[in-house]
Structures are given as C-alpha cells and as structure tokens.
C-alpha cells in the first residue's frame, strides 16, 4: 500500500527555564538561568497509508498537538525522522505544505474583519489555484458545507459553527491529499459537529483524502475514523482499528437483571455482583472468561426474572480508563 506518512522514534523536548521562587532566586536566575527539559513526545513511531482516516486521541498534554505540529512541519523533532508525501516536512517545506491542509479548531486562518470570500480569494493567490478549479471547488464546498448564507459576511459576525466550516473550506481549497484536523469540533453543538463529521467522512471516502483527526469527542472517532492512535505521556499506547480497541480493552460487560422478589444469587467465579434498588442486581464480568449465554441460563433456571439488559463498555469509558490507569 502507498505510504503517506512514516515516522520513527519521534522525540520532542522543550527547554524550560526553571524559575526559583522568591526575589533572590529570581535574580540568581537572571544571571545563571537553570533549565530543565520536558519531553512532550518521547518515542512515537507509526506509518499512515493513503486513504486512511486516523483518529489521534490523548488527554490534554499527552503530546498529540506536538506530534501533529511535527507532522505538519511546524516543529522540528528533537530526535527521530519523518517522511511525509515522500519528502522531509521541514527541509522541503514549500513543496510539502502545498499538498497538505491543516485545520486548527482553536486558531482560525481567516481574516477577522473581512468577508469569508476575501480570505478564500487570498488563498487562491497564495496557492496559485487556477480560476476554473477554484470556482468549481468553491461551489462544491459552499454547497456541501452550506456556506451560501454567510460567505459574504465578515468573519467576526459568524457563529463558531459557521466559522469552523469556513475554516475547513479555507484549508481545502487547494485540494490537499493529506489533511490534519486538530480538534475541529471543539466547542460546537451536536448539529454543527454532525455536519463537520459528515464532511470529513465525505472527504475521506469519496475524495480519497488521507485524514488525521484529533479530538476529545469519541463520537468523532467512531463516525469518521477507521484507525485509532492513542497517545499518553508522549508515547503511543494503542494503534489499531476502532473496533479493535473494544475487543482489546473493552471486554467488560454488565448484565443488569431485575428479579421478581429479593433474590440471593450464589457467587459465580469471575462475576462480581452489585445490589441495586427494586430487586436489581448488576453482574459485571469479562466476556472472555464468562459467556453471557451461560450466565443468563443459570439465572433464569433458578430465579424469577422480570427484565434483563446487557451493556458493553462504550469506547468513551474505555478511553477514560486508559487515561486514568494506563494500560
């Protein structure tokens, strides 16, 4: 398969001036500054293929923004190497960035005081997009992203959802083959998020654009990405399919049973019980140790059961556990 990004043993260290407390310490620091090194990214390697849609997740400060910045060529890695679209992102900067797009949810690239269209025309000039291609792309995006209502308004008058859509369009006018979305759904309402996910999905599936997507919203990942990379404390924790994470970490199931009358269930190996009101007992177990079928049969055979429901651990919950406990 066609490799789009290959990075190995990426490491990024920031030098931080360590300021001692107190006035004297402050003065001493001016003369002999003390530095400490903070590793934002310690050791990350992966390969991304053409047409992939990869979700990048990690708690705040895990190192995902730093990784994205290295991949886009904004930051130089302290160690390790990156080859993207066949070139070195920093050494061949102009050549590389002409073929990528980057959307930063927290940093707009549109001119605050000017109509959206003006920023688009400027980008046409910057990327030297031929008129015909530009008009065609613009028409297409205006349509899909539903921008016709606000495209001639100054950016400062737009809602966050509108601004985000305009920002996405701005980053894609030059038809990049590889697009980075860094928290594009941050702060948006459910409908606005849905529109953006739909568009990214379209971009990835219909237009074969390779997409790298960071977010804190697991629904974004589930709906857009096939592959998931989890980063924690500057290291890669997981790299695989979105489904895979459920079978790897999310094999805990819960069986919630409501009995007709107060019931006493003998303890079953591998199953923990929790008593709830209304004669409900919650059974937790790992699906690779206990088969649901056996458990249900055993319960039905011995007790009068009113209702049974089963829940799987959602991806959100799995991730929360990973962030909290590590793997």
């Amino acid at each position: 398969m066609d490799t789009v990004i290959e990075c190995s043993a990426l490491k990024k260290e920031f030098k931080i001036n360590k300021r001692p407390k107190g006035f004297l310490g402050h003065m001493a620091n001016l003369i002999v500054p003390k530095f400490e090194y903070k590793q934002a990214v310690s050791d990350i390697s992966f390969r991304i293929n053409r047409g992939d849609a990869v979700g990048f997740i990690g708690a705040n400060g895990a190192g995902k923004s730093t990784t994205i910045k290295m991949l886009t060529g904004i930051l130089a890695p302290t160690e390790g190497s990156i080859t993207a679209l066949g070139v070195h992102p920093q050494k061949d900067r102009k050549q590389y960035v002409a073929k990528i797009g980057a959307v930063f949810g927290q940093k707009s690239q549109l001119s605050w005081d000017l109509p959206v269209l003006d920023s688009f025309y400027l980008l046409q000039k910057i990327y030297q997009i031929p008129d015909q291609q530009f008009n065609q792309t613009l028409e297409q995006f205006t349509d899909i992203l539903d921008m016709s209502g606000f495209i001639e308004q100054p950016v400062r008058q737009l809602s966050l959802g509108q601004r985000m859509r305009a920002d996405i369009a701005a980053s894609l006018l030059h038809k990049p083959e590889l697009v980075f979305f860094d928290e594009p759904t941050i702060g948006l309402d459910v409908v606005a998020k849905e529109k953006i996910r739909e568009f990214v999905r379209y971009l990835n599936r219909e237009m074969q654009v390779t997409v790298i997507f960071t977010t804190h919203d697991m629904q974004d990942i589930e709906q857009v990405c096939q592959r998931l990379i989890i980063i924690d404390k500057g290291r890669k924790l997981y790299d695989g399919t979105v489904e895979g994470i459920k079978s790897t970490f999310g094999n805990e199931k819960k069986l919630i049973v409501q009995f007709e009358s107060p019931a006493c269930v003998y303890s079953i190996p591998g199953v923990s019980q929790k008593l709830k009101p209304n004669h409900v007992i919650e059974f937790s177990f790992s699906s690779d140790q206990v088969a649901v079928k056996d458990l249900v049969q055993a319960l039905l055979a011995e007790h009068a059961v009113l209702d049974i429901s089963i829940t799987e651990q959602g991806i959100e919950q799995i991730i929360r556990e990973i962030y909290e406990k590590g793997i």
Partner: protein, 267 residues
C-alpha cells in the same frame, strides 16, 4: 512578477481591513503625522535659538534628520510585519505562515503592509527631505542622486536588519519589546544629530552596534562634506549604502538558523 500581484492583493486586503473602522484608518495617518511633526517642530525651534551645531547649519540638520523619517516611512510600509513579529510568535499564529507554500520573510512582509502609517511617516519625511534638500548646498548631479537613492534603500535595510534580528531572537525569548526599545528607539534619538558631537561611547554605539550612522550621518556627509567628517574614516561615506544590504543579508542568515527554535505556543 507573480509575487508583485500577491503583494498588491494583500495590500488591498489590509486597506480594506483598516476601512472596516473608517475613522480609525484616517486618524492613523494623521496621528503619526502630527506626532512626528511635533518632534520636528521642537528641533526646529531649538535650532532657531542655537543657529548651528558643530558647524551644521539648520537646513543641514533638517536634511540629516529627514533621512531618519523618510527611511522609517519606507521601512514601515514594507516591514511592519517584521516590527510586530513577536506578537505572531507569542500567540502562535506564525504556525499558519509555516503552513503556506510561500517564503516566510515574504509572507511576513506582505501580510502587514501598512499604507496608513507609511503615509503618515513617509509624507513627513519626504516633505522634510525635499524641503531641506534644496536649501542645503548640494549639487544634485546624477551621481549624487543615485548615491542618495541607494543610501535611502540601504538605510531602510539597516533598520530592517535590526528588526529581523529582533524577530529571530523572539523565537528564543518570545518577548523582545524592551530590548527593541533600548536598542532601536533609544539609539534613534541620538541619530537625529551629527554624531561628532557625542562622547566616544555613543559614537561606537551608532557606528558599530546599532549602525544608525550609516542611515543618515555618513550619507549626509557624502553630500554635504562637513569638516567634522575628518575624525571618521572617509571610507564609511562610500560604503554607507552597501552596509544595509550586507547587514540584511547577515540578519537573513541568522533568521534561517533561528527558525529551528520556534516553539509554537498553545494548542
């Protein structure tokens, strides 16, 4: 000439942007004109009292002074982005420049072409320059005109080199506004006068450290031939226009080297 069309496009946008706040746009030029005009008025009235400084007559002093204004007016037109660069670094929006397939210095220059401030500074500088140029005893031969034009470009580049150096330092120190205040703005105050009147330390500062002397003093000496030039090597007059080009080239090299220290703040 493709870059020229991009420059034009950016210019139109910044003007349009400024005109979102119409009153402010008009006032910027006026404010700059009045502020700088007041400085000149102070010097003018002071000179009326003293008559001359170290052999320099009033019009010669105004001629000397006009270089500072005129070159700064041109500088501001092209290099406002360079002057305000640390702001880009502090809020991390330099990221966007790195993501666009154009030269970085080029983008910094064109993204903030400030016609309004330039008109304020430049028109005053030009008026003063033209006014004094015909009062002083200079024969405006082809050679002198060419030299003068090159010296003005060189003067712009000296200031651009200083600001490019500051911009490079802002990758490491993030905020450099105080350093700029000390090195540029305070030194500039000395540069309005013939440097021969100052203590040796100030002369060293103006010639070798923050070389304002090559912006106005030595070019003026080439044209005016005042006697106080005797204490400096005559060579300095001839190389004055080239100093700007050389310094800007060096500053460019340092800028390239410093780029790797860019830390990109925030998310």
């Amino acid at each position: 000439m493709e870059w020229l069309s991009l420059f034009k496009h950016y210019s139109v946008l910044t003007i349009k942007e400024r005109f979102q706040y119409k009153l402010n746009a008009i006032l910027v030029s006026l404010a700059v004109f009045l502020r700088e005009g007041a400085t000149i008025a102070v010097i003018y009235f002071m000179l009326l009292r003293f008559g001359s400084i170290n052999g320099w007559e009033m019009y010669e002093l105004l001629f000397l002074y006009s270089y500072i204004f005129f070159t700064y007016g041109l500088f501001i037109l092209f290099f406002t982005g360079l002057r305000d660069f640390e702001g880009l670094v502090r809020i991390g929006s330099f990221d966007r420049y790195l993501l666009r397939p154009r030269g970085l210095i080029f983008q910094i220059i064109v993204a903030k072409v400030d016609w309004f401030a330039a008109i304020g500074h430049g028109s005053l500088g030009l008026l003063l320059f033209l006014y004094s140029a015909f009062q002083v005893n200079v024969s405006w031969s082809a050679i002198n005109i060419t030299y003068c034009a090159l010296a003005i470009i060189g003067g712009v580049l000296i200031q651009a080199a200083i600001f490019l150096l500051m911009a490079s330092l802002s990758f490491t120190f993030i905020s450099v506004s105080n350093l700029r205040q000390i090195l540029y703005w305070n030194t500039r105050k000395f540069a309005g006068y013939p440097i021969s009147i100052f203590h040796a330390s100030i002369k060293i500062l103006l010639i070798y450290i923050v070389p304002f002397a090559f912006v106005n003093y030595f070019p003026s000496q080439f044209l005016l031939h005042k006697t106080d030039m005797a204490e400096f090597p005559a060579l300095y007059m001839y190389i004055a226009p080239a100093v700007g080009f050389a310094l800007f080239g060096l500053a460019m090299l340092y800028w390239r080297y410093s780029l790797q220290f860019y830390k990109s703040t925030g998310n």
